[in-house]
Symmetry: none
Subunit: 414 residues, 2 copies
């Protein structure tokens, strides 16, 4: 079985929006063992979309479209698919009810436009949208030769649940042959070449199992990919290589696949029955925000202070004014006093204190932008670490939060 993916939207074609959808769909197809041999992107142009659809359907067994299912006049996918596959659009009542219910729950009157979203090509089996109004659908065009069409909404957060649930459900009967499975091992805050040096030989692997390295600021991912006959074989092959890598990298790895550093930290705090509080200056709340992205954070996160101004550092955290005066707001001493202060104040087992210069302004020769002090206060004492982070204000903030969460992780692992 082979497939083509069509991204639909003038905003994609003009480059105003990056096409994430095609990659998401391609990965989901690869996991099902469906070979994708082309992605296409076209604008909101019915004629061109119709021609592209017909061409793709003539070349491939399966065509997946992303986008153009919204309620506006720009959204041409439903009409064009109906036309290109010689079907009429029919009102699908349960879908209309779902859309109406969505608006009712939010206490908003459904605009007339949204009715259009419930008119589906004849024979289409809709995929209910969990987070938006546009349903996706599966359409069997012919059985011999196999010609299948799947239409998905454009927003990645609407499309993703359908990739997980509806795609496997409808495509499994048709999938077969070699499957692709992959597993990613995630590491925080190490440069790519550092990690690279430790696995250089493995990055050269050729054959059924390969390793790739993907770096972004304060996050380096190693991806193991297996292209084999069965899921079982894939899992075994991945595990063999994973063991080898883990032996070399040890606790540089914080998690796998979609696991974030904040979820890894959360799981460790829960396991060790520890609680955490934060006192944030330069990160402005980012550490607390990341910790609370994880459901169940209430079990281990107490909260804390956003001690952005010096006043706040003194009044709310009880830091002596002379500490700030003598050493400066960005200093090991202040970070320590923040971490200890917030731990005392909240009664949490662990306290984090972050103070630094996020930049681009505010730096000096002695303390340039990117200087960040992070303290972790624990029952065994307080340790302060000073960093010099490169990059923009946003990157310095993110790198600071990454380093702080990693300190908590390493403490829990000890």
């Amino acid at each position: 079985m082979n497939a083509q993916i069509i991204g639909i939207g003038t905003e994609l074609l003009l480059g105003f929006t990056i096409n994430d959808d095609s990659a998401l769909v391609a990965r989901a197809l690869a996991e099902l063992g469906i070979n994708c041999h082309r992605h296409l992107t076209v604008g909101d142009n019915p004629e061109r979309l119709a021609r592209t659809l017909e061409e793709a359907l003539s070349q491939s067994d399966l065509v997946v479209t992303c986008g153009g299912l919204g309620p506006t006049v720009d959204d041409i996918t439903l009409e064009t698919i109906a036309q290109a596959t010689h079907r009429s659009l029919r009102l699908h009542r349960p879908t209309l009810t779902q859309i109406q219910r969505r608006f009712r729950r939010r206490g908003i009157r459904m605009p007339k436009n949204n009715v259009r979203q419930a008119y589906l090509p004849q024979g289409a089996i809709p995929f209910p949208n969990q987070v938006g109004t546009a349903p996706g659908f599966f359409l069997k065009i012919s059985t011999s030769p196999t010609k299948l069409l799947i239409a998905l909404p454009g927003p990645p957060y609407e499309l993703t649940p359908m990739l997980k649930k509806d795609l496997p459900k409808h495509l499994k009967p048709y999938a077969g042959g070699e499957i692709i499975r992959s597993k990613t091992l995630n590491t925080p805050g190490q440069t790519e070449s550092n990690i690279d040096a430790k696995v250089a030989d493995l990055l050269k692997l050729k054959g059924k199992v390969t390793l790739g390295i993907y770096a972004s600021p304060a996050l380096v991912k190693l991806r193991i990919t297996a292209k084999v006959a069965s899921t079982k074989e894939a899992e075994a092959a991945i595990l063999r290589l994973e063991r080898k890598i883990r032996k070399r990298l040890g606790n540089l790895i914080f998690g796998a696949d979609e696991e974030t550093l904040e979820s890894a930290v959360g799981a460790l705090l829960k396991k060790k029955r520890l609680t955490l509080a934060v006192a944030e200056s330069c990160t402005g709340g980012l550490v607390g925000h990341r910790i609370t992205e994880v459901a169940g954070a209430t079990d281990y996160f107490r909260g804390g202070m956003i001690a952005y101004s010096n006043d706040m550092k003194c009044s709310a955290l009880g830091i002596p004014e002379k500490t700030l005066k003598r050493h400066g707001a960005v200093s090991a001493q202040t970070a320590r006093a923040m971490a200890d202060g917030v731990r005392d104040l909240t009664g949490a087992a662990l306290g984090l204190g972050l103070t630094g210069i996020a930049g681009p302004t505010g730096g000096s020769a002695k303390k340039p932008a990117g200087t960040v002090c992070i303290a972790l206060s624990t029952p065994k004492g307080t340790r302060v670490h000073q960093f010099q982070f490169p990059g923009t204000r946003q990157m310095v903030k993110f790198r600071s939060s990454q380093a702080a969460l990693n300190l908590v992780r390493l403490y829990c692992l000890k």
Copy 2:
């Protein structure tokens, strides 16, 4: 003049890498007035790439390829272009010298493989690579009809300098007349169909100036695009439509293009010489984080509390325990006490209080997940707003932060 963009790479086709390049090239072409009518992505497969190249060249005046110019055996673009355009590959000595010099500067011996990168299709004019080894190139295949080909390296940071320098240089003589300019107007926290209804007629505009609508959670963008003869004409045409839209949407619009809600709020607070403090429960620090993403936030942001646990709400914000007991932690009364409390504590002009159920757990029949109360405490009094947000935990948090920042914005505009 019209174009197609071809992304080359199995990692793109399998979805392991997001295709940023096509968007970058599309935007560069649009600025030159070159109409792009399709993007394609193919794998490292010479036959399929050859077929795709021939097809694209038969349909369009210009084909731009991205990727596959590296030194490894996977990199098939040079050979395939040579074959598809019936040219031989010839060693380009100055390019080889540049590649060798690059390695020498880094103190590394040039691997033999890299010699391949200096063999270019006959007649190609190379683009020196400022940050990597792979040169791009321009190839005039025929003059009548005009058939041009540009090959660019895959890494976005290698390709971007060529888009800025080499693309305009070689394409300007062909880029007849019309250019594309756009401006985006951003609105917060309104459903797409609500905004849509107000500009429905404008979304149907055909011709030189068009309007598009792009929705993501708590953010709806309207993009005006002008396709006209000159920059001056574009600016005037955009301004005319912008005025019309602003008249209808009024203060629903918070900013244009890359302006974020937090930067709009920051600019207003600065202008009105107001300071802000936050007391965050369900958002866990997200509002503070967003405010401090803007350089210079020190001027108006005091900081605040992440009052995640009930203890923190009472001890640090001085909320009477009976308020929590009687009305619950998620209630208008608690939100009000949080906003007033943090305002008192910090001496800020404005205080925000947010409390809610981010979900997915923790909700009840009366207060389901997504219930959020937001209070804004001001010198003119305190107002509380209750919301019922849809979506995941992450979305509820983001929508809450968006609604809170928008309340501050609307207050400043009054």
